[in-house]
């Protein structure tokens, strides 16, 4: 692969993190460029992603500086679309298995993660969601995990693992620090509940994901905790 790949991301964005995890795990060369979301450079929307969100990728085209994107590069947005793109660029990386049934299982895991884990969890952290939906989602995703395997699907790290890992990292923060907009104590309560025998399979899987060097490389826990502290000062009742 000689084509350039530039990832526009934000340190705190779990959606950006998914993509970066996949790049790191696939050993893919890339350039990362942080976009200051509250103060976006105007070229970002006009030249990279009209919707103005991260993650966004430019692929191919001449080797330009990231802050001077070329019209000749392909522009790709939406985290799950980018994950598929990376699997297409690196078909031997394991990001998607080669077997059609296993590919479908990875996609199903991603679909369930997006709808039943990410959405309820981020809503909950923002004080909008329900505690029960977070637990239900975790239980559902646990049901998709097979016994005795370290990965979501098959025996290799895939887009499924990349997709859920940033959510797992934030789950760890809220259960250990109780930081978030949800009612005081509900983070700790969630942590206690997840320690029960019912969630043993989930815990083992989650710990495996959190221990991976790729996660430590792409997730700054301290920075994220500091952000949560300043962002979520008001709690819902």
């Amino acid at each position: 692969m000689s084509e350039q790949l530039t990832l526009y991301l934000h340190k705190l964005s779990p959606y950006s993190a998914k993509v970066e995890l996949a790049l790191v795990e696939a050993n893919a060369p890339y350039r990362a460029y942080q976009i200051d979301l509250p103060n976006k450079p105007e070229w970002f929307a006009s030249k990279v992603n009209p919707v103005g969100k991260v993650p966004a990728v430019t692929y191919g085209g001449p080797n330009v500086d990231p802050d001077d994107p070329s019209p000749l590069s392909a522009k790709i947005a939406e985290s799950n679309v980018i994950l598929e793109f990376l699997a297409d660029l690196y078909p031997d990386s394991g990001l998607l298995p080669k077997d059609p049934v296993l590919r479908a299982k990875v996609r199903l895991f991603i679909d369930v993660t997006t709808k039943q884990v990410e959405a309820p969890l981020y809503d909950f952290i923002r004080g909008q969601g329900s505690y029960d939906n977070v637990l239900k989602g975790i239980e559902f995703i646990q049901g998709l995990l097979e016994e005795g395997t370290d990965f979501a699907v098959g025996d290799h790290y895939s887009n499924a693992d990349a997709c859920i890992s940033p959510a797992l990292a934030r789950l760890k923060i809220i259960t250990e620090t109780d930081l978030g907009k949800f009612p005081v104590g509900m983070g700790y309560k969630l942590g206690e509940e997840l320690k029960g025998p019912k969630f043993a399979k989930f815990r083992k899987y989650a710990q495996g994901m959190l221990d991976r060097p790729s996660l430590k490389q792409t997730h700054d826990e301290e920075y994220t905790i500091t952000f949560f502290k300043t962002r979520f000062t008001e709690r819902v009742q």
Binding site: E78, E84, L89, V101, A104
Partner: protein, 239 residues
């Protein structure tokens, strides 16, 4: 390479299910088709095929059994877009999944836009939800038209792909409804929508959706009478 057996659980009314039927027709795959009466689902369906109890679902592989007696040995898969990609993976030379990664990404992004900006609004409009106005529908049309390249037949290029498959069943059902005045929306909304689409600025979109509806794999899997009848029962006629 011969594939394993495919059994598709589907329903003529359902736009999600039609996506998978179109894909199977496009690739020319042999499969067993089993109609699920969504108003009266067989009691074996959820426990043996799809716990979410929805269509479409595929039972893949395993022994050759009648569809109403699914085997625990077959792999059960669900979610229309995942099934369409699955069919594309089983038949890579069919071309429904574009050959190059950038075009694949374009197809998948198109599908995201259909799923977020068009699909939900179609149901809101049909069911008479006050948020389902002709303006909101047109915003979905705009979002889709903005992605259509110039001078090509379909969403990504001249090749018919998963992107087109994702939209066609939804557009077709909306068309049937607005042309026949079926739906719980106000008739004024319907008229405004149709009038707006006559504007020359929508020429590209109109040409595109015409081609979607003319596609053989679409026509052979679309049951307009069933759709009209069931939607009339469900939503009534526009007032």
């Amino acid at each position: 390479m011969p594939h394993e057996q495919i059994t598709l659980y589907t329903a003529k009314i359902c736009p999600y299910a039609q996506r998978t039927e179109i894909a199977l027709a496009e690739v020319g795959a042999p499969f067993k088709r089993y109609e699920i009466d969504l108003g009266n689902k067989p009691e074996w369906y959820a426990p043996k095929v799809n716990p979410a109890s929805k269509v479409p679902a595929i039972a893949y592989g395993g022994p050759d059994v009648p569809p109403e007696n699914p085997s625990p040995e077959s792999t059960k898969l669900a979610e229309s877009l995942i099934l369409v990609e699955f069919i594309g993976d089983l038949y890579p030379s069919s071309g429904i999944v574009p050959a190059n990664p950038v075009q694949r990404a374009q197809a998948r992004f198109f599908i995201e836009v259909v799923s977020t900006k068009f699909g939900p609004n179609f149901m809101k409009f049909a069911s008479g939800n006050p948020e389902g106005t002709h303006t909101v529908l047109l915003a979905g049309v705009d979002a889709i038209q903005d992605l259509l390249p110039d001078g090509v037949k379909y969403a990504v290029n001249d090749q018919y792909t998963i992107a087109d498959i994702a939209l066609a069943p939804f557009w077709a059902r909306l068309t049937v409804m607005v042309q026949k005045g079926i739906g719980a929306y106000k008739d004024e909304e319907r008229k405004s929508f149709l009038k707006a689409l006559e504007d020359p600025k929508y020429a590209k979109f109109n040409g595109y959706v015409q081609r979607l509806l003319a596609r053989q794999s679409f026509k052979s899997t679309f049951h307009e009478d069933v759709v009209a009848e069931i939607f009339t029962k469900r939503f009534g006629l526009a007032k």
